[in-house]
Symmetry: C2
Subunit: 598 residues, 2 copies
């Protein structure tokens, strides 16, 4: 038995299993799974060798703000340059703009790896790619030509400037203003907060995408326009070194993610360029936002995986008490704690959340690739729309639960900075807050993606669940298939029940939304777990031919066992959420504000 | 509507409700509830004026370790002296030793107030009182005479020295040694870690209670003895300024609780005195430990209360989006977020956990008073034994959930240190780790307090549930009474089911223990909520005469409504825990260690 496990090693075998056996997309434009896996191995090496070792240093030393300049921890800055120069930034971005044109399921895995290895590091690449997506989707040819290659190569980086001190979830309140000074050139004025990577010393220029309001624009969300505002402009000689009126006026002291600067930005009549149409900024922003939400869901998965490995490392090393089933390590004064059932319960919880979430993310990645193609199937695009708030809301929530379990696994040592367990939680804590809080995801899911859509997308997913439960042939998985089949009927029924209450009383949507989201998350993951268990069981039984690499029986058998753990030990939480969502709004809304204040 | 709520104000009305209407003990030794409430108001003023304002400063500045000396944040040190000199330390300790002899239900409320106001501050008083309890229960007359008055007046403070680097939960592994040098004098050698308040500059002397092993003592837990080891000894002139060989060799960098030093202590042949009998240290330690566990449960309650108030303050101030039920604050650009159902769900969750937990703690406090009396009823003592791991495990777990919700309520601002929401979580995070992790509480509950006791104590509690559900007369509460009645039957049945599986396979106990603990917690709080709602409803209906102060109808009505929220929106979680505990050990234990490692 290996006693010293690494701090984090990329779960390559599980990733290969998903690439080879779980995707319908087996070879895009001549790129084989072997090609993808080869690239993945390089990403793994980079993460393990360059990012993991500097993670704690970044937490301790953090970013420094001095006189308008932000300095990253030097090791992290160097790692970013290595990453960008290695050509990693634009992995799944279109080749015509300087990307690598590889499928999303590869960049999704790489995204997870980065966040597992070093949450702070992962922020700048993710934001830069989201900003690029908005430019690709809505920018003029000139903007594309001028900015995309620099962004996709990481020479420059990007940001999203939405939040202001008085508005976060409610973007309709944005006050930052834009005034046209000449055709396609605007002056941007206003203050933005919580701008991740808003200023730093790892790139030559920073391209801000800023939501602002044109003079005389309508009030609210329909009066917002999106602008591209570079920190540096081109001077007359064609050199990008002319300072724009974009200033970082401070960085936040945060709970975690110390190595990524969260900047307060002041736009003081900065030169900017319209992206898309006037007053339609929110549309362009939503393109970006949805990809960012999927990106944040990877942080949840990465957090569960890293927390699992962090816990596992300790569970095999730390000896404490004897097994309830009899002495396991007679040569030691106590058994390693991995023998204790409650320790295993925690480990397996983290593991099934990580692997189930990863399978879900791979499914979303394939849908994302489809949605980027011209003439994409509407049903598939809407299915992605349904899964996006579930992935973001549920996987970040459970990712934090995994990180919290890592602290718990370490006992008192989990509270000590040196062990690194508590950093995982602190770094990950923002993932349920930014890109729309869990509450916002829940409203988006139930209100927009389910009820406003008459449950159509939900039915297209529950149909997949139903089909999977029918085609589950192994007797070993029969009871799980029955359970999934039950949920495939119950889920849309619950939506209907809540929906009929909500007719004429939208507060019923708000009162049910969080529990509906969590229910949806647990049930979705049950689908992906049964799907994995099915494939694994077929490979074990020899009724399925592997698409490439043959997986060892231990790995496949673990998949089947872990699916059972998920169904028996995690999925029952959906029962509680069902009961709570059906309770209705009365017990929440009947109490008056003054009774709450007391 | 008050828009600026205080950071924290002591929930005096709720506390008065519990003192007057929920306790069977209405007047101990001539001390009336008015007397208790008067004292409580003084404690509230101290907490609000002295402890709340210095809480953030303590986090920022922390403790300093320099050359063996630990310096507390100066404001906290001064506050401790004020507290001690105000006579607060020995509130419920026996008068004969210098305490005030007041009932536990008062000191329990004060304990909660301290932890709500300033978690770091609350540590030293709590530890000092637990150490004192062990001396009272097991020390010689000479030890009592020499140390208790100093401790109960806070002139000196106390610690518990259990943990060593290689042993936390498993105290049987303790290596610190003790050698008798003369009658009743021993030399203590060894290293202890995680010693809260092990060194500081707020008291003249520190009295360590140290678990150590006598020469030739049996292996394991039955070879441990407890020693009293003062940091300073009396010199020949009778002055306590002779240094003992007790050294602080460092303090931990922690996730939170920065204003309380967590010390590594080195005992280098220090002079110590046996408490109780040789090799019976664990008995004395358990006296102390059980009281510490109840003390830690107060931290969970305090955390829920403080998190509720922190969230409430923001929910009435922060405006964001319009109510789903129509505009509520037309004069503002958006409605205060307290109008949103999901925000209320979070607020009410924190509120019912705090108030339900407080009622449970009051019940335990009365049992504790009874248990301190000679000839205490065995059934009542065992009932306290049953409730102790539930209170510790469940209330700290849910306290952290409340603190996590506070971060969530603040959205992105919750991640920023300045707002103070994240500090609550960081400070509270140790509460599920020390004094026995949640997993240890769960094993203690299911293994020792339920199964080893043939469910007797559990039945004495479910009998109370049954009686309460029968005597619930108001139609308004009829459905809640039925629900509670169902749980009063189900709970012992579940214990029986798990117990029969566990015959011959103790791992079944470990596999079910955590879910059994959480189930027990949710069900216990349902009892206390129905009990409060019953009293409130009777007072509203005029069928009950108040024991003192008349409570306003809004307060009583809120109690009834909150009980319903608890039953509809929190208690269903017990359903999930039931299903998970009955799943058995297979899906946890079938997977091999090498499959977990992958």
């Amino acid at each position: 038995m290996a006693e010293q496990l690494p701090e984090y090693r990329v779960p390559l075998k599980d990733m290969q299993f998903l690439l080879n056996e779980m995707s319908d997309d087996q070879g895009t434009d001549g790129v084989t799974n072997e090609d993808l896996f080869f690239i993945l191995e390089q990403a793994a090496r980079f993460a393990e060798e360059e990012l993991v070792p500097i993670n704690q240093d970044g937490d301790t030393n953090g970013c420094v703000f001095d006189n308008g300049k932000v300095t990253l921890p030097a090791k992290l800055r160097d790692a970013f340059r290595t990453y960008a120069e290695g050509g990693w930034m634009g992995l799944s971005m279109p080749e015509q703009f300087g990307g690598q044109g590889l499928p999303e399921r590869l960049s999704t895995l790489v995204g997870e790896i980065l966040t597992s290895a070093n949450h702070s590091f992962s922020m700048t690449p993710a934001l830069t790619m989201s900003a690029s997506r908005a430019i690709i989707g809505h920018g003029s040819d000139e903007l594309k030509e001028t900015y995309l290659e620099k962004l996709l190569t990481g020479t420059w980086t990007g940001t999203m400037c939405l939040t202001e001190a008085h508005c976060g979830s409610d973007l309709g309140l944005i006050r930052t203003s834009a005034e046209e000074v000449s055709e396609s050139v605007y002056r941007i004025k206003g203050n933005k907060i919580f701008i991740s990577s808003g200023q730093h010393d790892a790139a030559d220029n920073i391209v801000h995408l800023v939501l602002a309001r044109l003079k005389d624009a309508p009030k609210g969300i329909k009066g917002l326009s999106l602008f591209l505002v570079p920190a540096k402009l081109k001077n007359k000689a064609g050199v990008w070194n002319k300072k724009n009126e974009v200033h970082c006026i401070g960085i936040e002291e945060k709970m975690g993610m110390h190595a990524n600067p969260t900047c307060s930005m002041s736009f003081e009549g900065a030169e900017g360029y319209l992206i898309g149409k006037p007053n339609r900024g929110i549309n362009a922003m939503f393109t970006m936002m949805n990809e960012m939400r999927l990106g944040a869901s990877l942080q949840g998965i990465g957090l569960s995986e890293r927390s699992f490995q962090k816990s596992l490392q300790y569970a095999v090393e730390r000896t404490q008490m004897r097994s309830l089933g009899g002495v396991k390590a007679p040569e030691k004064e106590a058994d390693p704690i991995i023998v204790h059932p409650d320790v295993r319960r925690m480990l397996l919880t983290q593991k099934v959340l990580a692997e189930g979430g990863r399978a879900m993310a791979q499914f979303c990645a394939d849908l994302l690739d489809e949605s980027h193609k011209p003439g994409a199937d509407k049903e598939r695009v809407e299915l992605l729309g349904l899964l996006t708030p579930i992935a973001k809301g549920f996987l970040t929530d459970t990712g934090l639960a995994s990180a919290d379990l890592a602290i718990q696994m370490y006992g008192g040592h989990g509270f000590i900075k040196e062990t690194g367990a508590e950093q995982l939680f602190r770094d990950g804590r923002a993932s349920t807050l930014y890109e729309g809080t869990t509450g916002i995801q829940a409203l988006d899911l139930l209100g927009r993606k389910v009820l406003a859509n008459q449950g159509k997308s939900l039915l297209s997913f529950t149909k997949l669940m139903h089909v999977l439960s029918k085609k589950t042939s192994s007797e070993k998985l029969g009871d799980l298939a029955d359970t999934l089949s039950g949920y495939s009927k119950e889920w849309p029924q619950l939506a209907k029940q809540v929906g009929s209450k909500a007719i004429g009383d939208f507060e019923e949507v708000g009162a049910a939304s969080y529990d509906f989201l969590m229910y949806s998350g647990y049930v979705s993951l049950a689908y992906f777990w049964l799907k994995m268990a099915n494939v694994a069981q077929e490979l074990l039984d020899g009724t399925r031919h592997p698409n490439g690499e043959t997986f060892d029986r231990d790995f496949l058998d673990a998949k089947v066992k872990n699916a059972r753990f998920y169904f028996e030990r995690i999925l029952p939480r959906a029962r509680a959420h069902k009961e709570m969502m059906l309770a209705g709004k009365a017990s929440i809304m009947d109490i008056t504000e003054s009774q709450l204040i007391g």
